[in-house]
Subunit: 690 residues, 2 copies
Amino acid sequence: MKKVSVLLLLLSFLINVPLLRADEGMWTFDNPPLKQWKERYKFEPSAEWLEKMRLACVRINDGGSASFVSPDGLMITNHHVALGQITKLSTPERDLVKNGFYARSQAEELPTKDMEANVLVSYENVTDRVQGAVKKGATDKQAAEQRKAAIAAIEKESTDKTGLRSDVISLYSGGEYWLYRFKKYTDIRLVFAPEEQIAFFGGDYDNFTFPRYNLDVSFLRVYEDGKPAKTPNYFKWSETGPNDLDFVIAAGNPGSTARLLTVAQLAYQRDTGNLLQKKVWELRRDILENYAKLGSEQARQASNGIRSFNNSLKRLYGQQEGLMNPRMFAKKEKEEKDLKAALAKKPELMRQYAPAWTNIKAAYAQLPAMAKRLAFSTLAPSRLATIASGIVRYGDEIGKPNDQRYDEFRDARLPGLKANLLSTAPIYPAMEEAALTAWLKEGVKTLGPNDPFIRAAIGDAEVDEVVKRAVNETALKDVAARKALLDGGKAAVDASVDPMVTLARRVEPVIRQLRAWNEDKIQSVETRNGELIAKARFAVYGRTIPPDANFNLRITYGRVKGYDEDTTLVPFETTYYGLFDRAASFAEKPPFDLPERWRGAASKLDLTTPFNFVYSADTIGGMSGSPIINRNAEFVGINFDSNVQKLSNRYWYIEEEEGSRAVGVHSAGILEALRKLYGAGDLAKELTGK
Amino acid sequence: MKKVSVLLLLLSFLINVPLLRADEGMWTFDNPPLKQWKERYKFEPSAEWLEKMRLACVRINDGGSASFVSPDGLMITNHHVALGQITKLSTPERDLVKNGFYARSQAEELPTKDMEANVLVSYENVTDRVQGAVKKGATDKQAAEQRKAAIAAIEKESTDKTGLRSDVISLYSGGEYWLYRFKKYTDIRLVFAPEEQIAFFGGDYDNFTFPRYNLDVSFLRVYEDGKPAKTPNYFKWSETGPNDLDFVIAAGNPGSTARLLTVAQLAYQRDTGNLLQKKVWELRRDILENYAKLGSEQARQASNGIRSFNNSLKRLYGQQEGLMNPRMFAKKEKEEKDLKAALAKKPELMRQYAPAWTNIKAAYAQLPAMAKRLAFSTLAPSRLATIASGIVRYGDEIGKPNDQRYDEFRDARLPGLKANLLSTAPIYPAMEEAALTAWLKEGVKTLGPNDPFIRAAIGDAEVDEVVKRAVNETALKDVAARKALLDGGKAAVDASVDPMVTLARRVEPVIRQLRAWNEDKIQSVETRNGELIAKARFAVYGRTIPPDANFNLRITYGRVKGYDEDTTLVPFETTYYGLFDRAASFAEKPPFDLPERWRGAASKLDLTTPFNFVYSADTIGGMSGSPIINRNAEFVGINFDSNVQKLSNRYWYIEEEEGSRAVGVHSAGILEALRKLYGAGDLAKELTGK
């Protein structure tokens, strides 16, 4: 064989760079797609521009994104991101979900129950330290423990030093580790929310649909020391919004993608994982729907949960349809084959990395037999039970050294965890009882009466009686009781005779055993071999493929642009005319009814005002509430959804040409409603100065 | 084998009745779907009800349907059905296509150039006489001649006796023959037409689309003896239009379906016929588009033709997509297999009918080799050349006995034919020249320079020079010159040195030869064996399957109803709000621009007024302009299109559940525009009495 120079080898690898696809990627701020921006959009932001942008972006830990839109802590997010908090602030007598809310002065702003907002203030690459902590010859399990200890140490050091929330996060399936430091806000107050019916007009039907007509926005204000926080990094509001074909950026916290998974991992999702997930979510949705049928107050209590499961299910159906599509799946097989073929050109790389795929496949072969137990061995459908489990687990974990605890119990994360367990958000015992009873009954059916979790949960008793007693007699509805147990630590928990606590205590060993199995047999194998595959990808493609999303800050970008559908054109934006058309054409039957304020109010609005719009950025759930900004860093809209063409983009990027689009509320449409329908001129003035 | 009684055999056949599918079928008035109406809609019309309905329905021989909506000859059809006539009435100075038209008094009503309207006044079954004319032992060709002679005789007898237009039409692929007698109107005057841009808002993009916003209507009046005709059978106008889920009937003249074709015939369409048709239509469309680019006047001249080809092409693409769908095609194969299997249970039926499929398949095997010659050996793209060919053919045919002529030259049909050849509609020589030149050049490419048609058309000359001379020097632009040739008969035609006439004369023998080949080798086989298959179907299923459409009057029915699309809902109707939304959301860029009268006119209208709507009837092209009536025989809307889900319904019925819908303009929407935007209060009053 001829000798090949290193340079030639390198060139041969560079040829393997996958085609840079238009607008693909949810990029980290340390590696923004500067090349694509420059080439496609002639956009070359400075480092300062990017930093100011990052500091104006907010993560909402309920599961969404937001951004600052005034120097005085004013923040905009989606109505559906704040909906959990708005629900918690509502009562049957004062239903803010149904009727909306506007604080006419700062004094009227309503403190949320347990919202936490984070701003990513700095980040640092700690890959060497984390990966270097793994000793030569360590087993997968040992490697996991060694990495975990290193991570815990890094986080603790950072927290002690800066006082900031400090999380080490894994990127590229463990190919890199980064320390992210967050400024944390916990005093967050509701400023404005429209009626849910206009925020979610068209309901579950129009979810993931375009053309669309949703005022899916809410405004909140972050406070520090009882005063509005100073937020000098914020987005200026654009009164005109985006034009057709404008370049835009959306930055937010995409929840989760699975684009770097191996074919074996994807096949598991397709053949087992997604089917089970579907079963669980449908069951939990159906439980809530049955409860909602009991009356309007029950419907109010269950509504946010139902909506959230329907949303997840609609997305899951789309994802599964994607995986079931042989043409799409074949693309993933080809990607994997191409990467291996590129590796094969360099035997030393091949030797080092090729076993990774086999190892993951072998680990996953054990999963189907355990999947049902992993899915059903939980008390999650009940909030009281979840709190009880949290308290029991806290008792066990808090006594361990920091670096040996479960991730979520490490010192750096304890404040958030405690805030959650001690939240004063309302609890509805009847709904709790209905949910937990139905869940455990399905558990008995699915796992069988002799399953360890089922035995531990109900023993020889009836599900109904165990749950009834636990829900009705538990003291955990009272925050003080929870606090007493947390403060008392393991001794207090062990001594408790509270029937919800004892239920949680009985099932805890089973849950721990399953978690250990999952961590040892699956996750540690995934991490170790995922890291190898990531390195293989770096070797072949460099860092041209962004890491999978994991609810941390990312930049996405694209163009405001309509698309083809069914041989016709879908426009890039809708107008208020369209809202009234859709309402009238369904004779305002729910979910196409308008709230009182909007009914017959067409004459108050300039109906040509743009309302919603689409753009081609690569987004996914979790980016709800992300600011959409133009090249001048002006706020032109807020991301709230994707269209149906994009549903399977968890597993792969879907080309702009296939009509996949993100959906936003238009900045001009928001202003029009605030000023002309909500009498919220002061809020509009804070946004625009006018 | 056990002996089986006739009754049992009969029962076993009845079991084979195919599932009665919801709302399927374009039914003849002699066999309306009374059973389905009663069972599904509790609708049981009297014979008088049906007769009055039939007499209020009109066929427009330009290719569409219409109906009477006042006792004084007032007729409504689609704008696009009348568009050919409106174009012929337009000049560069007075562009009725662009600006619309409204006659404020009967004196202002504009006589169309060559429109013919027919009302089906009576019909009678002549199957025995036609089929009985075929002598035992006749070859396919002889059989065709004998049937033709019988048909000619029946038509002539009827015309002589009644003075009515009398056509014998074939149904069920020749399984039945019916004599249809029509009252004929040729003095038809334009009363109202909106601007094309509102009639066809969204252009080719929104064609076959819903939601939709088209005022696709025009009003004309039929005259007799210079006075408005009395039309006592007309539809009363419904001011409210249809409600969601209302039962409705649409009666009109569906152009052509191919649902009874054999698998061999369908496979030919899929593999050869449709591809060639596509090529021809795209070529003719492209020729016109290139011509239209020369200037606005050229664009005006070509626009109706372009639109018509685009419409046909969009439908053809959908049809071909359907045929290419293996699941759909397999259904047709199964249908044929099931019918044969049912026949197989009765050996005598099998013996009699089974060869029919084989015979058709054998005939079709010869088609692909001839298909290009059949498609390209014509001068059809030029109107002048078409007139010349008509005159040449007339000279040859008129000297033959009535029953030996081509169908379209039989006595009963001569008046319509002559009216067409002598139409005063404008001719645009430059467009004629462009079209014929490009067409013949493509003919040379496709058929080769030695093809008989090409040789006859251009010999050794250049296409450009032959066409230039023919178009520029022909006298046929003058109607009097045409009349002289027609009156002079064959002698005059043979003596003519008009270069367009001599061109037509040169190619005529080739065209006749190809037509003879097609009639002898294909059509006569199809008819003979189609009749056998029809009889086989009658034997197995009775008359439960309606005959294929052939531009004669049919009744269809269904329900006004929205549908699911892409996980959301499409409403059953749109409103004027939606029109302004779609225009604004495309910034009124063509084809989403509004005509002057409509721009900024939203405030003049009640925007909640329904505009277009969908219903589940089984319709197809040719039913454009069909009245949509409710169970009280009130006019609730006018059919003008189908949605994209329905595009392949030429070959099979598409279930309501798959979202296939017909699209209509709403009667209330029409009134709103007439009264509030067009100042056409008098017209509205004639419709409603108010």
